[in-house]
């Protein structure tokens, strides 16, 4: 078992997503440290991919800026290793199957363990294809995070009963990006998840305001926010860290009011 459970222990989790290397690694490190200082419970670090098919325009832009800035998988591992000297909360990677596969899946996942990564989110690896990654994740004690979508319906029980770490509940159809309104009946989805597992679940996709974060964390065990943070990076670039910190605090404060 990884350390992911600690993010949800006696609290609702706030989970920021940050694309590594946008616009450079130094900024990413500063942003992650600020997010942790201001109450992040788990950090989701994106390893950029040239063709991120599950992402909307905002995170696509972050991937492009990071790759243009020269980020590589090896540099991401180096960054995590350094952050681990002072950051104790769980950290997970979000990337695409080819980034892991082309690095050599075993080399990638064993390095995750070595540098202190607790989990791996691969949005293009559904339940049916997870075996080739899951066996290695179990070998190296890295949780392969399952995703559940508004269209999962009859698949929720199957996915939830095998889930590890936490479950990423996708709030809406489509790709990542902020949304003014989330229409999916998430309470019903979470109910089925809870009937099938004790693994915590957090909701992501489309969340940007403290009100939305509180509402989503109220329904589930936590809220995941990506595009709204990337927009801050888009705006402030290398100076983004304090602004991200301020934003994380406002989101975490809203979630804390639930207690």
């Amino acid at each position: 078992m990884s350390n992911i459970y600690k993010a949800f222990e006696n609290k609702k989790a706030f989970i920021p997503f940050i694309t590594c290397g946008d616009p450079d690694v130094e900024t990413t490190k500063a942003v992650i440290r600020e997010a942790v200082k201001n109450g992040a419970d788990l950090v989701e670090i994106g390893i950029p991919f040239s063709d991120p098919t599950a992402e909307g325009p905002v995170i696509q832009g972050a991937n492009l800026r990071a790759l243009t800035g020269g980020i590589t998988t090896d540099k991401v591992f180096d960054m995590v290793e350094e952050l681990r000297k002072d950051i104790t909360i769980p950290m997970v990677f979000m990337t695409y199957a080819n980034v892991v596969f082309s690095y050599g899946s075993e080399k990638f996942i064993s390095t995750c363990k070595k540098v202190g990564i607790d989990g791996l989110i691969l949005p293009d690896v559904p339940f049916e294809e997870k075996e080739e990654f899951l066996n290695l994740c179990e070998k190296y004690d890295v949780d392969l995070i399952s995703l559940i979508a508004p269209t999962s319906e009859n698949r929720i029980a199957m996915i939830a009963s095998k889930a590890k770490g936490f479950i990423y509940v996708v709030s809406s159809l489509g790709v990542t990006g902020t949304r003014s309104e989330i229409k999916t009946d998430l309470s019903s989805i979470v109910k089925v998840i809870r009937e099938n597992t004790d693994v915590p679940c957090a909701i992501g996709f489309g969340i940007s305001t403290p009100e939305q974060a509180a509402k989503m964390a109220g329904i589930s065990d936590g809220a995941i926010v990506g595009s709204a943070i990337i927009k801050i990076l888009e705006k402030y670039g290398k100076d983004a860290a304090p602004y991200v910190g301020e934003y994380v605090k406002s989101m975490k404060d809203a979630i804390n009011l639930l207690r």
Binding site: N98, S102, A149, V170
Partner: protein
């Protein structure tokens, strides 16, 4: 050739977001039902014959044969189909299937525009809504096809992300499908993407090799020594190969777009320069860098300008059943002009890649041997680009 998990050897699979899983499962169930349904097959055959103009001719290219002085050359004339390419075979099949599934809207990606035109055509015929994603770069290279799609009632969305070519159009169509699944069928244009697409598209394109076999047996009373087709994703090639896979004496040759040559970066020859990876829903060969970032590929042909290849081709390569050869821009353009002057047939620049390879091997073969080249499409759409390649600026 497909095992139950949609695998061709190690290739294929379903590497897609969870959001799409029930959609592909629903598609697979519907296809498994309708592929054996006599009424569905009767309707599809009628569309093929009465609407698309099948069977397409198998033409003996006598002048070309004599000029090259070797093997006897036949051309499978998919360029004579309605809409001018093989793409209509797959599209009529998928549109009919989508209609039976109760879908009212088709979305598609397109490179050269041939698949987009075919999808817009089927949508018009069947009274369905149609949205086509096309790389912005390709909308410029193939402006005439953009107009044709709009004329047919489709909406064309230029894709500006990445290299603004075919791979980005596929990514954008996939993103669109995750946002609207209920009423929408993603009419994928090649033997690629997640299972069951590589199998469905292959089955609808297999009519090409089924006809070649019947026609060559009637004309020559024997099978050909080689069948040759161009390969991007690989739909006309798999259609050309499929019914010959078990006939081990028939060589299967796929011609990849080498662009400016396979020693440089400006190429789209996936088997010749790529390695195994996972992208666009499938495991297969892809042009990529050491960290798995997909390479910005290049070819003069917008239809072959794709960094991957269908999983069944990847498998046929692995087991040595089919051979995949690189053909450069220059060789393809020469073949384009050669076929026009020699036989009075202007092939698509995609198909010209296959003609180019036949021009290399035919002279080395005996006069008693037979080659079939699939002319996957007609070349009207390419005339302006080829003129530009030769330094002549013409306005369409």
């Amino acid at each position: 050739m497909t095992n139950p998990n949609g695998r061709f050897g190690i290739h294929g699979g379903q590497y897609i977001p969870e959001t799409l899983m029930n959609a592909v499962i629903e598609l697979e169930k519907a296809y498994d039902h309708y592929k054996n349904d006599p009424e569905f097959n009767r309707e599809l055959t009628e569309l093929f014959n009465e609407y698309a103009g099948r069977p397409s001719r198998l033409y003996y290219a006598e002048k070309m044969t004599k000029d090259l002085g070797g093997a006897k050359i036949y051309l499978k004339r998919e360029d004579l189909n309605h809409t001018g390419a093989h793409k209509i075979n797959n599209v009529l099949g998928q549109a009919l299937l989508a209609k039976k599934m109760g879908k009212t809207r088709l979305i598609a990606e397109t490179g050269a525009g041939q698949h987009g035109v075919a999808t817009a055509t089927a949508a018009a015929l069947m009274g369905m809504e149609c949205v086509v994603f096309m790389g912005e770069e390709d909308t410029k290279r193939q402006a005439l096809n953009v107009y044709r799609m709009r004329l047919l009632g489709a909406e064309v969305i230029p894709v500006k992300t990445g290299t603004a070519t075919l791979k980005d159009a596929v990514s954008e169509a996939m993103r669109e499908w995750t946002s609207r699944i209920d009423d929408t069928h993603y009419c994928l244009g090649s033997v690629m993407g997640p299972h069951p697409f590589p199998t469905i598209v292959r089955d609808f394109q297999a009519v090409i090799s089924k006809e070649i076999k019947e026609q060559i047996l009637e004309k020559e009373h024997r099978l050909p020594d080689a069948v040759i087709a161009c390969v991007g994703g690989g739909s006309n090639a798999i259609g050309t190969f499929y019914n010959f896979i078990e006939d081990k004496d028939v060589k299967l040759i796929g011609c990849e777009a080498a662009g400016r040559g396979i020693d440089g970066f400006e190429t789209a020859a996936t088997i010749n320069t790529g390695r195994v990876g996972i992208f666009h829903g499938m495991k297969s060969y892809f042009c990529q860098d050491e960290y798995g970032q997909i390479a910005p590929v290049y070819s003069i042909s917008a239809g072959l300008d794709y960094p991957g290849i269908g999983p069944e081709h990847a498998h046929l390569h692995d087991i040595g059943r089919a051979q995949y050869v690189p053909v450069t821009d220059d060789e393809a353009v020469n073949a384009f002009e050669y076929l026009a002057k020699t036989e009075g047939i202007i092939p698509a620049i995609e198909s010209a890649h296959a003609v180019a390879h036949a021009m290399k091997i035919a002279p080395q073969m005996g006069k008693d041997q037979i080659i079939v080249i699939t002319i996957s499409g007609r070349g009207d759409k390419d005339c302006a680009a080829i003129a530009r390649y030769r330094g002549e600026d013409i306005h369409e």
